[in-house]
């Protein structure tokens, strides 16, 4: 990728969104064996039945989330592990958390200037839509929507200012 991703030079959403999208595309292609591309946000908005979260701390502070509906979460897990786990909700959650974790890691590894100074949390997965998401990360927010088996998967990164 030719874009300058240095933390000092690049600033936020319009510059880092392509990096986030590339990080997502690579994880889907390598670990799930499927190609995904961003779609217009207003065309599709993912359900929040399953929300996976990974925190970032250090040079880059914030939270990365991945949201999708139950069927899509199961489909993602199936693609990653095989059909036998499709109905095991714990393993579906575990798989979703790992996908989120790999996206966060892949994203930060693509940014110059975070070398060893940005840590990731262990993933957390929330099931159910009856919650309000509140983050102290009050800075830029970037979001991309990918279609997986024709269903939207929303990946968001909320950063501290």
């Amino acid at each position: 990728m030719s874009t300058d991703t240095s933390l000092a030079v690049r600033s936020r959403e319009e510059n880092w969104l392509p990096v986030l999208e590339l990080a997502v595309e690579e994880v889907f292609e390598i670990m799930l064996g499927c190609r995904v591309k961003p779609v217009p946000k207003d065309a599709s908005q993912a359900s929040t039945e399953f929300t996976a979260m990974v925190g970032l701390a250090g040079t880059l502070c914030g939270i990365l989330t991945l949201c999708c509906d139950r069927k899509t979460a199961s489909g993602l897990a199936k693609s990653m592990l095989g059909p036998e786990i499709a109905d095991n909700e714990d393993q579906v959650s575990d798989a979703l958390g790992e996908i989120c974790n790999m996206i966060a890691g892949n994203f930060k590894n693509k940014l110059a200037g975070t070398d060893g100074r940005c840590m990731l949390s262990v993933p957390t997965v929330v099931k159910g839509e009856e919650y309000v998401f509140y983050s102290l990360a009050d800075g830029d927010r970037m979001e991309t929507v990918m279609l997986f088996e024709n269903a939207p998967v929303t990946i968001s990164l909320q950063l501290h200012s």
């Binding site: 670990m31 974790n101 840590m119």
Partner: protein
Amino acid sequence: MDKVRTLIVDDSSVMRKIVERSLRQAGLELEKVVEAANGAEALAELSKNPVDLILCDINMPVMDGLEFVRQLHTVENGKGVPVVMITTEGSEAHVVEALSAGARGYIRKPFTPDQVREHVVPVVGKKS
């Protein structure tokens, strides 16, 4: 290549399965696969189950992968067993820290079976 006894250390059971599958796809014949969810569990497993190869994550609760590698030589069956880190922590600083601690290889997630083959096969069965 002889059949390989393997210890896979990752707090995600899904990732442990994926690592095992990738090892098989990479051409390794696995005689036995022992799993642990963190470094402390892995040290305890090693005292009961000698292995030829260890694949280990870095970010884990209780005891992380770097601390596990540092303590590996202190436990029964641990000395010299080759460890390959498989982790989302991809910075050069982490690679250097892991190799300095005693790891013999480093694979960044997401990873392909080819990358597993490239980093694992050369160290299997070669105690340091």
